[in-house]
Symmetry: C2
Subunit: 434 residues, 2 copies
């Protein structure tokens, strides 16, 4: 096992052959999709079949599939095989109406576990590693997705699930955890519990790698996490509609996420025109499953914004890399005529040493129009009641933010731990405008 | 797939061959166990090796292993192979000190998934079934244990996890769930949520089977659950130390749980003398793993009380059956000199039509000595403020209980839903005696 690849042949396949493979698998996916009630009706009306795809450009002839389509198809309208062939269901956690449900055949779970193992292996994870999964389990794909992948790879897998920080720390210490998976916002809280208990995660654990994903976060947040834990943090990308985690993952170079193109067809488009954007330019990601048997999804609007990183990766993998998720096309808010993504604000805040990892963006309205307030948490060591000092800090943050987003926000500094905590994913924006 | 057996050859193996197989696997387990630090030291001191086991009676020469031993061995002292061969850890949820941790090799997870599939198949579950697992996931074995087993069998598996009753009901209805797994105390709450939403689980779901376990419960509770859901409820037995669920399970005859003797060696002993008790007589179960590679446990005191059901099962399976768990040898409390198990009180309460499924046993002390109070929940339809009627009911319950436990308790009747609810397993006894 001296190779740096989990599946060398497929991971280093020259791009012309990869493109051929993709077109072949796309044709198969269309043939399969035609068996589902949803695509069957749609494609027959549009006269689409496997023969419609002759070149890579033909992909753009296929209609887009949206989350609303998936919801309307709930629970079984996208299924291409008898229900008896399905062995698992996951679904999104939407608050109202039907969720988007994904149905997996045995082949699909096997293919997913393999991609997860390939992803983890690419970061340097090996069977001797101890992997602690601090993700929620159940219908959320971060639990079982990483579990099956880590077992496939052969790690000692600790299904710690989310929460209970003191137990997480005990497990890390007792079992010598070398890799942990978490949403990035939880790692700040976990670090605080280490300190509260007189422990230092660098000195008192064997952590070498962290897998972070499921929440957009900035490079500055990644660097902070790496500093807090003395471990490399690798970005992970996935979504329930595309199986779950394991769609794209950083390799040991940490320079963007290899999107596994033998299993997913990648497009980046302008969210308004749906026209492709050039490599390096930010747009919305459109993904097509190429290896899903029970429920292919073709040209899915992910709403996630990213760009293709143009150059080749020194690791030798030929699959293209996407940059960290910049936000969701529906996360963007407009304030005083400017388009702002929460991640832009985070990036500025995380560069400021005095500020902790928690923040909240509040949008409101007064007589003069929209207001933007950024609430940011001071680190314990920066906490002071020297008004002059705090005021100077506030002005510095407001200036830095104006340079980035072109709007000057009001800044509120709060003590450590004073911002409201949420279960699960962090809430970063509160829009109080009617 | 017309067979009623998952593995006909092994499930119907004549008992003499089964005994031979057990002794062979026990010898192998001892040889393996000798490689672990704990058994290695212990067995060498006692001069125990595979050759010590020539007949079935020789089993009793082997020392008992206790939960305290497991805790003292935490995390790795029972391991018989390099850590690199381990791919999962589960542990018990003890509140203080170290938990008991179980480490699984790939063979061990495979063997466990197979036993779970065999168990579910024995009740009549088939690949066309839709299985909703309402168990907690993560370190608790009821989640991943049933998940892997149901996928092995080929059911459409919905990893709903615990709690969120309205979503449980929506999933049951939308996916046509035919089998659900739950702790018995949750099913009463779930039924109440069905009613609150104007739904009838019998009319409005396709439920055919329920798997219930992890909490001692009476036959009366099972019958009530069956009535509430219009589905057959099958008892399930397992414990983390023995992998998790899938140690013993009822077949379609629902007449006690087949303990899978090709994988576990069963003894029932007097908890005081550790001498075997005759079939049909209640004692403490001692279990030995026969198919565990990474971490064999030999002669484990489970603390669970049950008896062997003497006659053969009409299903043709040759593995012996154990009766439902009567309680734990350390659950028993002594009141006014009488030994009482909580399950005895439950059995009496569940026979009384006016009483709902929740109850609480409170032990306290006053000037005259120990007091026993039983708090029981009235069903909505039995709720009244007619004092005379309530008093008559109280007296009836107290009399029935005295006949069963030889002590007359004070009875407090409370309205539906008024007893405190606990996350996870129900708390049935509160001992306030200093
Ligand atoms: Zn790379
Ligand atoms: Zn039977």
């Amino acid at each position: 096992m001296s190779s740096i690849y989990w599946q060398e042949d497929i991971e280093t396949l020259p791009r012309p052959q990869l493109a051929e493979l993709q077109l072949k698998k796309l044709r198969e996916s269309i043939t399969r999709a035609l068996r589902s009630p949803f695509y069957g009706k749609l494609y027959r009306e549009l006269n689409i079949s496997a023969e419609s795809i002759k070149t890579y450009d033909d992909v753009r002839k296929l209609p887009i599939t949206t989350k609303d389509d998936l919801r309307a198809c709930y629970p079984f309208e996208l299924l291409t095989c008898p229900k008896d062939n399905i062995i698992r269901m996951h679904c999104t956690s939407g608050t109202t109406g039907n969720p988007a449900a994904v149905l997996y055949s045995r082949h699909d779970l096997d293919s997913w576990a393999n991609l997860m193992a390939r992803s983890m292996f690419a970061t340097g994870a090996r069977p001797a590693d101890v992997f602690q999964n601090m993700s929620g389990y159940g219908l959320f794909t971060g639990g079982l997705g990483f579990q099956y992948g880590a077992e496939r790879l052969g790690c000692l897998t600790i299904p710690a699930a989310a929460g209970n920080s003191r137990r997480q720390i005990k497990l890390m210490q007792d079992f010598g955890t070398t890799i942990a998976h978490s949403i990035p916002s939880y790692l700040g809280r976990l670090h605080a519990v280490f300190l509260e208990n007189g422990l230092d995660p660098i000195r008192d654990t064997k952590l070498e790698r962290l897998f972070i994903g499921a929440e957009p976060h900035s490079e500055e947040t990644r660097l902070r996490i790496q500093e807090m834990f003395g471990a490399k943090a690798y970005n992970s990308f996935g979504m329930t509609e595309m199986n779950g985690p394991g769609v794209a993952f950083e390799c040991s170079y940490q320079n963007g996420m290899h999107l596994w193109e033998d299993c997913y067809l990648l497009e980046i488009v302008n969210p308004d025109t749906l026209e492709p954007v050039p490599d390096g330019e930010i747009g919305e990601m459109i993904l097509t499953t190429l290896d899903r048997e029970a429920m292919p999804i073709i040209r899915y609007r992910t709403r996630d914004l990213t760009c293709i990183i143009p150059d080749e990766c020194p690791c030798g993998r030929t699959s293209r890399r996407i940059d960290r998720i910049k936000g969701r096309s529906d996360d963007m808010f407009i304030i005083k005529g400017c388009n702002v993504f929460p991640i832009q604000i985070e990036r500025v805040l995380m560069r400021i040493r005095e500020i902790g990892s928690d923040y909240l963006i509040v949008l409101d309205r007064n007589d003069e129009g929209d207001t933007l307030t950024v609430q940011a948490e001071l680190k314990s060591e920066s906490f002071t009641d020297d008004y002059k000092q705090l005021d100077a800090l506030r002005r510095r943050i407001a200036n830095d933010l104006r340079d980035e987003i072109l709007v000057t926000p009001a800044i509120q500094l709060v003590g450590p731990g004073e911002l409201p905590k949420n279960e699960g994913k962090a809430v970063r924006v509160k829009d109080l405008r009617a």
